[in-house]
């Protein structure tokens, strides 16, 4: 107990950003160093050797760096979307997938796999396009169901989201039941998530959404704090709650939809990282939103690294690692710092 009011000054803000930023940077630096195949970094960085004769350089620049970049933006997107969803739903159990984005996206991917759409315009894979469209459509559907008398009510959103989750979950199972062995296997692999990538196409599928959403969410970060006091307190403090909700849900839906469509439904990052950041830096959304973005980016790179080396040369799906690595750590944090977790 002490008598000083904790405020957010630029000094405190940038100190925390330095901490989370350093974590992300360190992870991003270690990420490319290891892989299923050892490479010679001196040779990889020797630009005098033509690329066709330099497999080390191809592995580093063609697969490892793009993969780390993809893990960075995916982790950042999911964690920030999770933080925004927890603020908007005022529920510590909310995650980017609470309102059905992941199940809608999975249904989209399943549909593309079942129908057999391989590639679409601009070389976008059919699963990616279909998953993206369906995940955004799902959010729209959940809103439409929850929208009553000009307001999105939290309880209705949660119920609509959970119901839609079940609906699409069943539809995915139905498609899987009707699929042949090969399609079924492809779908299961998709559902486990994969950061396997060649080149930066997937990265560019997420990065623009991340930039736009970050700008929107940071702008509203201070108002998000007032949401914790409830709708009425926020409205009577002059917060345009309807606009805040719309902007927040669109931004987090875009983040989750982009991430899910590119890499599959990688869970746990979006639930856990915001809580971890909250436990360290406090619940102020001006810290939680950007902090989650940075910490989530680093965390997913780290998980991806583990997934590549733990059973090398085989790779584990990253979704398995985020939970296996993240859950015990998270539970330990929870036990050790239960006070700050009381919500």
């Amino acid at each position: 107990m002490n008598g000083t009011i904790r405020t957010l000054t630029p000094g405190r803000f940038w100190s925390w950003m330095a901490v989370f930023g350093a974590f992300a940077l360190v992870c991003a630096a270690i990420g490319p160093m290891f892989g299923t195949q050892p490479i010679d970094f001196a040779r990889a960085l020797d630009f005098s050797i033509p690329l066709s004769e330099n497999p080390d350089r191809f592995i580093l620049f063609g697969t490892r760096l793009p993969r780390v970049a993809l893990a960075l933006v995916t982790g950042a997107s999911l964690a920030m979307a999770g933080a925004a969803m927890q603020a908007l739903l005022r529920n510590p159990l909310a995650s980017p997938f609470t309102l059905g984005v992941a199940s809608g996206g999975t249904f989209g991917a399943a549909l593309a796999i079942y129908v057999g759409v391989a590639a679409t315009a601009f070389k976008v894979p059919g699963t990616v396009l279909s998953a993206f469209v369906l995940s955004l459509a799902t959010i729209g559907l959940v809103w439409a169901l929850a929208y009553r008398r000009g307001r999105l009510t939290t309880g209705m959103l949660l119920l609509a989201g959970v119901s839609v989750n079940f609906l699409f979950g069943a539809l995915v199972l139905l498609l899987q039941y009707m699929s042949d062995f090969e399609q079924s296997f492809a779908l299961i692999r998709w559902m486990m998530g994969s950061l396997d990538t060649v080149g930066y196409d997937s990265f560019w599928g997420i990065a623009p959404a991340l930039v736009i959403a970050a700008i929107v969410l940071f702008r509203y970060a201070r108002a998000f704090n007032l949401m914790a006091l409830g709708d009425e307190a926020a409205i009577t403090s002059g917060v345009n709650v309807r606009r805040l909700e719309l902007a927040g849900f669109v931004a987090s839906g875009l983040l989750a939809g982009a991430a899910v469509s590119q890499v599959g439904p990688i869970g746990f990052v979006g639930l856990m990282i915001p809580h971890g950041v909250r436990m360290l830096a406090g619940p102020d959304y001006r810290l939680v939103l950007p902090g989650s973005m940075l910490a989530g980016a680093g965390f997913l790179v780290l998980c991806d690294l583990v997934s590549r080396i733990v059973l090398a040369p085989a790779e584990l799906p990253p979704g398995i690692i985020t939970a296996i690595l993240g859950a015990p750590f998270f539970l330990w944090l929870l036990r050790a710092r239960a006070r700050e977790m009381v919500v």
Binding site: I5, R6, T7, N91, A221, E232, T236, R278
Partner: protein
């Protein structure tokens, strides 16, 4: 009244068309005035406050704040002048007490990302006057209901408003804190702030109020000095229970006088036929 803050006339409101909550209500609040809004549960006290702060639009009638129609005032501008404390306080996520009080400064932030020095000073002053300065670092999720109520009051005061609309701010406070809160509200009113307090302990608040407004079934049935409003027949009519008012100087005690409910319960218990009705009257007897 030249320095009127609120003038509301002919207000009617219904959540559902077939159940009017407020009927033809006239209400005013002047600067420096402390008005107690009293009346039975469901009489429309909270709804009236919500109309005044703009959470609901009146079905008919007009509300003016500071000489302007309420609808013409931008929400954030209104929030700088009017601080409203809902009946149910809600707080999610473990903010510190200081951070919650600082949230009262949001209407003044003008979109700034960081907290300013004046935000911190105003919040510190508000915590000082409410007497919770040393709680700044405590987690609000660990406070008791009464402690949280004081934090929320400090948040409202940190806004430095011209007007406070408080929906049962003291219902969870003990005798001393309740009295402290009333004394504080009186002091704030004396400094020029207009205050409306919805309250159930009508005897205690009458001492500190300039005026009392009694709502019953959606209508204001009495509005005036405490002595006028706290007339036994008026209260009996509004609350539907025999009422006794005992005055001792400026202090008043108001209680319901059901003919010795304790004896009645003892009797029915002895006979073993305690009906639902007898239990209800008993609770009403204690509640008032």
């Amino acid at each position: 009244m030249s320095d009127a803050l609120y003038i509301a006339s002919n207000l009617s409101f219904a959540y559902r068309a077939d159940r009017p909550v407020l009927i033809d209500v006239d209400f005013s609040l002047g600067a420096g005035e402390l008005v107690a809004l009293i009346g039975p549960n469901g009489a429309g006290k909270s709804t009236l406050l919500k109309l005044l702060v703009g959470l609901h639009k009146p079905g008919s009638g007009e509300i003016e704040f500071g000489g302007k129609p309420l609808g013409d005032i931008r929400p954030r501008e209104l929030a700088r002048r009017v601080a409203y404390l809902p009946q149910e306080d809600e707080i999610h996520f473990p903010f510190t007490v200081g951070e919650v009080v600082m949230l009262g400064r949001w209407p003044h932030s003008g979109g700034a990302f960081f907290d300013s020095a004046s935000d911190r000073e105003a919040s510190a002053r508000a915590m000082e006057v409410v007497g919770i300065a040393e709680w700044a670092g405590r987690l609000v999720t660990e406070l008791s209901g009464g402690e949280r109520a004081r934090v929320m009051l400090a948040r409202a005061i940190a806004t430095e408003p011209k007007c406070l609309l408080l929906d049962e701010p003291v219902s969870e406070l003990d005798l001393k804190w309740r009295t402290d809160a009333y004394i504080l509200l009186r002091r704030l009113a004396d400094s020029g702030i207009g205050i409306v307090v919805a309250a159930h302990d009508i005897g205690a608040i009458s001492r500190w109020s300039d005026r009392m407004a009694l709502l019953s079934r959606g209508r204001i049935v009495a509005d005036g000095a405490p002595d006028e409003v706290l007339a036994e027949p008026t209260l009996k009519e509004a609350y539907g229970v025999e009422v006794k008012v005992i005055a001792d100087g400026r202090d008043r005690a108001v209680f319901a006088t059901i003919r010795s409910p304790g004896t009645r319960r003892a009797h029915c218990k002895a006979r073993g036929d305690c009906s639902k009705g007898s239990r209800v009257t008993d609770e009403e007897g204690r509640d008032a």
